[in-house]
């Protein structure tokens, strides 16, 4: 469903994504694994179209130059130049890193805002589904999102992304800054979401261990370049991965 070809992203003169190609098929869970500043967020922002918003803002300021080359196709259609909100309308939804929620709005209101593209009845259903999938959220439904714990905020952020009705859900470091117990919970939640909706997933992570067994395919990137690819369980056994990411 998603085809990325020869993607290159420069910040000023520093290259963040270097000649990267990848493919995501419908129904898959695909991982993008890389350590700090490997280029995961830059890649996710480019897939979701957010990079255009950054590019335009920088241009207005006369700030740094951002250059994007290569192509992104979604269901055979070239979407390389589409802004983020249009891609969301087409079904590519990004859940940004560091649990992006609206801190001053209540949990329910966050979900309502996220239902912008949906009809009223669908919004109601979506909120119920989110509460089914994330019982913690149901308990805190009228609490301000800013007062939730990191893990709860992450679940809310995923719930919000699901409200949009994605065909392809991009998760940028959903486990960032969470305790191991919370990480397990969030991984379970992600699997639940998938079981319920069958949504296709691309997940960027550095701590791949809780996720790797579930990945249909994984791309390992370093300094913006692909270094390894393969099905998740296979990479689990790869000695290079073991030493680089699990410290074994």
């Amino acid at each position: 469903m998603l085809n990325v070809k020869d993607l290159i992203v420069f910040y000023e003169n520093a290259i963040a994504v270097n000649d990267l190609s990848m493919e995501v098929r419908e129904g898959q869970i695909v991982g993008v694994i890389g350590s700090n500043s490997a280029g995961k967020t830059t890649l996710m922002n480019t897939l979701s179209g957010l990079i255009w918003d950054m590019l335009i803002k920088e241009q207005r300021k006369g700030g740094e130059r951002i250059t994007v080359m290569g192509s992104v196709h979604f269901f055979e259609e070239d979407i390389s130049k589409l802004p983020a909100f249009r891609r969301a309308q087409q079904g590519i939804v990004l859940c940004r890193e560091r649990h992006p929620v609206f801190p001053d709005s209540s949990v329910t209101e966050n979900l309502k805002i996220a239902g912008y593209l949906r009809k009223r009845a669908e919004v109601k259903q979506g909120i119920e589904l989110s509460f089914d999938l994330f019982p913690n959220l149901a308990r805190h439904r009228s609490r301000k999102a800013g007062f939730l714990s990191g893990g709860e905020q992450q679940m809310l952020a995923i719930g919000m992304a699901m409200m949009v009705g994605p065909k392809l859900l991009l998760l940028d470091e959903p486990l960032l800054g969470l305790s191991p117990a919370m990480q397990t919970q969030v991984v379970e939640a992600i699997k639940d979401v998938r079981r319920h909706t069958g949504v296709t997933l691309v997940i960027a992570e550095q701590f791949a261990r809780p996720l790797l067994p579930w990945l249909d395919f994984a791309y390992v990137i370093e300094n913006g370049m692909l270094t390894l690819t393969g099905p998740g369980p296979e990479l689990m056994d790869n000695p290079e991965i073991k030493s680089a990411y699990f410290g074994v």
Partner: protein, 290 residues
């Protein structure tokens, strides 16, 4: 005397709140401090007057027409001028202030000065409250203030566009990823704020004449209320309206009527020295937690 002060203080406070609501909505959502706000307020008054007297339209056409045109002009200012400097605060201030000056001084240049520029009151009558004489228009202002504040609350909590307002006010990038066209919603918020300015003008201006200088006064009052209350805080706006509103009436009653405007200016200075974020400045507790 005390009763009169209370009643007029209350009415004056509602006037200030009405004047500040639109400015605050726009700022809270698009982050644009619309310094053309006072000019848009006065423009709505003149447009309505032109509709009534030059075109001979009935009030129910001239007044909504003026509101719609004012909101439309604001949306165009956003789309053709502000969009290109969005996020550059100084440029936004210069651009909106420049537009405001241009609009106001154009009216002055075209000769829109004099006592004939008045708008009709909604109801031409007066009532006695206790032993204080209050004209019906002032009661209409109070009604309009309550109505517009309530509608704003309803709009931002229960409509799609209103919820999108709150979304982009808090985090524009996240809103974009949810399929919200932030530029479009921000343009709506500027138009919405200008629409509120126009509605405020239609109920407040019948108390006096429409004058170019009123544009500057309205801007100063809106700024004073928003800065004292804390930018972006609705509770702050209401509290600040009442503080400044009563202070102005007390000044006018016991000191000197022409000092009313000074109260707003002193309030701005005082709050900037004592608590720059305003009385109800942004939710500190949340910021500390994150």
């Amino acid at each position: 005397m005390l009763q009169g002060t209370l009643i007029y203080g209350f009415i004056n406070s509602v006037v200030l709140m009405l004047v500040a609501l639109g400015f605050s909505v726009t700022f809270g959502i698009s982050g644009v401090a619309n310094f053309a706000y006072g000019a848009l307020y006065v423009m709505a008054g003149y447009l309505s007057w032109l509709g009534l007297h030059s075109l001979g339209l009935p009030y129910w056409l001239a007044a909504p027409g003026a509101v719609a045109i004012t909101a439309g002009v604001a949306a165009m200012i956003y789309w053709f001028i502000l969009l290109r400097v969005r996020g550059l605060v100084v440029s936004e201030v210069i651009a909106t202030f420049g537009m405001g000056l241009a609009i106001l001084e154009l009216f002055r240049y075209l000769g829109f000065i004099g006592f004939e520029y008045t708008l009709p009151p909604l109801i031409d009558a007066s009532v006695m409250i206790g032993d204080t004489y209050v004209d019906a228009q002032r009661l209409c202002i109070v009604g309009a203030g309550i109505l517009l504040a309530a509608f704003l609350w309803f709009f931002t909590h229960y409509t799609k566009t209103g919820l999108a307002f709150r979304g982009i006010a808090q985090d524009e990038r996240t809103a974009l990823t949810l399929g919200i066209n932030a530029d479009k919603v921000a343009a709506w918020s500027v138009a919405f704020g200008a629409g509120y300015a126009a509605l405020a003008a239609l109920v407040i201006l019948p108390l006096g004449t429409i004058a170019v200088n009123e544009g500057y006064n309205v801007l100063v009052n809106a700024l004073a209320v928003c800065i004292v209350g804390g930018l972006g805080s609705t509770v702050g706006i209401i509290v600040a309206s009442f503080l400044i509103g009563f202070a102005q009436i007390l000044t006018a009653t016991y000191l000197e009527t022409s000092w009313m405007m000074l109260v707003s200016l002193v309030a701005i200075l005082a709050i900037l020295v004592i608590k720059p974020s305003g009385l109800f400045g942004h939710q500190k507790q949340l910021e500390e937690r994150i």
